[in-house]
């Protein structure tokens, strides 16, 4: 450190002691005299006073903001303000379904037993007229209370694992296989707080369980536990490691209804909701139930998974990037002790006609039903 710098430091220290009133009267008088005769010191005093004020104000502003955050959290948690309960309109809405219908599923081995009533409900729901919906809701309600009792039965079943029971599912989404042994990926919000999970394709329904949750990425991995499920060999699609390009044509398969629905569109922005870099913005028709649908490019590579839509009039659709799915799969793989899962990165659909691609893919996309 050279002379002048050391001198500057000392002056700064002296000035600061002066500003803070830390000098004794003699010293103070001496300094004031010195200040009068040295304009550069006088200026430093003025300037530094101002600077310390700014610094001080900055500190208090920071503290005030911290208090605000703490107060907000407290009041929201104790319910004194509505912040946690009220959902914004122009927020991202998740595309899962509140089921207006019920499905029957054998919670144990038999897999065939269905209640007559649920068959009726299915039948009615496919017609979809307004008045029938009224009826449906009522039946649904009736079933729901019933299934409460049945829920108890299921607990009993778990113990003696013999009888069959009916489960009514209340919401749903889409998921697709990432390992042919029976691992599917979907959105975390689809299976949030799930008591029971089943996957369905056509008239085949299988019980499943949540194997892994990645809250940060809004992803979840399901494992089909049903013994009737048979591995289908290999996956036709792969998860792309590369980012998709702006304007790239894309298509999706999902379950906004009980039946698989095809949709096509294009990538409209490289980031998702409010600039989220883990996601894309897509121009594609997506509805409640499309959450968890694979988003594929023309080569049959999965480039993302649909997870939400902006609820204002613009209605942008968002998809989580395939690289994020791969990252979640990697993490899941690490968490497994014995079993190994496969990371699909190769598509076998290059150069095929779209109808052929869809035909191959649809066997791997499932309706996810959650209770």
């Amino acid at each position: 450190m050279n002379e002048t710098n050391m001198g500057d430091l000392n002056i700064l220290e002296t000035v600061e002691r002066y500003i803070r009133g830390e000098m004794n009267p003699d010293e103070r008088a001496h300094f004031e005299h010195y200040r009068k005769n040295h304009p550069e010191v006088d200026q430093l005093v003025v300037e530094h006073t101002l600077f310390l004020q700014k610094l001080n104000r900055f500190g208090e502003w920071k503290k005030f903001r911290q208090t605000l955050q703490a107060v907000h959290t407290d009041l929201a948690e104790s319910g004194k303000i509505e912040a946690t309960r009220l959902a914004g309109r122009a927020k991202r809405v998740y595309l899962w379904n509140r089921y207006k219908r019920t499905g029957a599923i054998a919670a144990s081995i038999a897999g065939i037993t269905t209640l007559g009533i649920s068959a009726l409900v299915f039948f009615l729901s496919s017609k979809g007229a307004g008045s029938q919906f009224e009826e449906l809701n009522r039946k649904y309600h009736w079933l729901a209370t019933r299934s409460q009792q049945q829920g108890n039965e299921i607990d009993a079943i778990k113990k003696n694992s013999n009888a069959a029971a009916t489960v009514s599912y209340t919401k749903g989404g889409t998921g697709f296989l990432v390992d042919p042994k029976g691992y599917l990926v979907t959105n975390r919000h689809v299976i949030n707080q799930a008591k029971q999970v089943a996957v369905q394709r056509g008239d085949q329904e299988y019980t499943a369980e949540v194997a892994y949750i990645d809250t940060e990425r809004d992803l979840a991995i399901l494992r089909i536990t049903d013994q009737r499920f048979k591995s289908s060999g290999y996956l036709p699609y792969g998860l792309s490691k590369k980012s998709a390009s702006l304007g790239e044509p894309l298509f999706t398969l999902g379950y906004p209804r009980d039946e698989v629905v095809y949709g096509q569109g294009y990538l409209s922005a490289r980031t998702g909701y409010e600039g989220d870099t883990m996601s894309y913005q897509v121009e594609i028709a997506a509805n409640q139930g499309n959450s968890g649908s694979p988003l594929l490019n023309r080569n049959g590579e999965v480039i993302g998974i649909l997870n939400g839509r902006q609820s204002d009039q613009q209605g942008f659709v968002f998809a989580i990037r395939s690289q994020e799915i791969l990252a979640t799969l990697q993490a899941f793989r690490k968490s497994l002790k014995q079993e190994r899962i496969y990371l699909p990165t190769q598509s076998r659909l290059f150069g095929m006609e779209r109808t052929q691609q869809v035909k191959r893919i649809q066997d791997f996309v499932y309706l996810i039903k959650v209770n």
């Binding site: 220290e13 009041l75 912040a83």
Partner: protein, 179 residues
């Protein structure tokens, strides 16, 4: 507590007063924003910024609102939110106001200046790097004394820490004034 006492509490970062003001005004501002293309998070940000505008006002010794606190906060939030919508070039319709409005132009102008100042200080401190950043934060923002800072940062004595602190302050001044 009457409104004047609440304002004094706000100026001194008094938790009870802030809670009371928060509780009295937050919900109506949240509905304003959520009903106009905003999210709950936007509502929180805007409302807290409005509280900062009020905080700056009362810190200047200006306790005369000429209206209720909630009316003031509503008027400020409304302006802040409109501005943000315009900035994002988002379309918005003229909306119906649930509350009466007061003019807040001068306060918002001052707020913009102060905000720029805070941001400049924040950036300057970020540029400092460690240990200067933590050292200055401990002394000037958290008001720790030199002896405890010396112990915390591992200086052999308070004088060395003090010397280092002045060097850091010199650097901060330089960055801040040259920005």
């Amino acid at each position: 507590m009457d409104e004047k006492q609440l304002l004094h509490g706000l100026a001194t970062n008094d938790r009870k007063s802030i809670e009371a003001i928060y509780q009295g005004s937050y919900n109506s501002i949240q509905s304003l924003i959520v009903n106009n293309q905003g999210s709950v998070d936007d509502a929180r940000d805007i409302f807290q910024e409005a509280l900062i505008v009020l905080y700056e006002k009362v810190r200047q010794g200006d306790f005369e609102l000429n209206c209720q606190i909630r009316t003031y906060l509503y008027s400020v939030s409304r302006r802040l939110w409109l501005k943000r919508l315009q900035k994002q070039k988002r379309l918005y319709a003229e909306w119906e106001d649930a509350d009466e409005l007061v003019s807040v132009d001068t306060d918002l102008d001052r707020h913009e200046q102060e905000d720029a100042d805070y941001e400049r200080m924040e950036r300057s401190i970020q540029q400092l790097g460690e240990p200067c950043k933590s050292l200055l934060e401990a002394y000037y923002l958290r008001k720790q004394n030199m002896a405890s800072i010396a112990a915390e940062f591992g200086y052999t004595n308070a004088d060395n820490a003090k010397n280092q602190k002045y060097k850091c302050l010199m650097r901060l001044r330089k960055i801040f004034f040259n920005e």
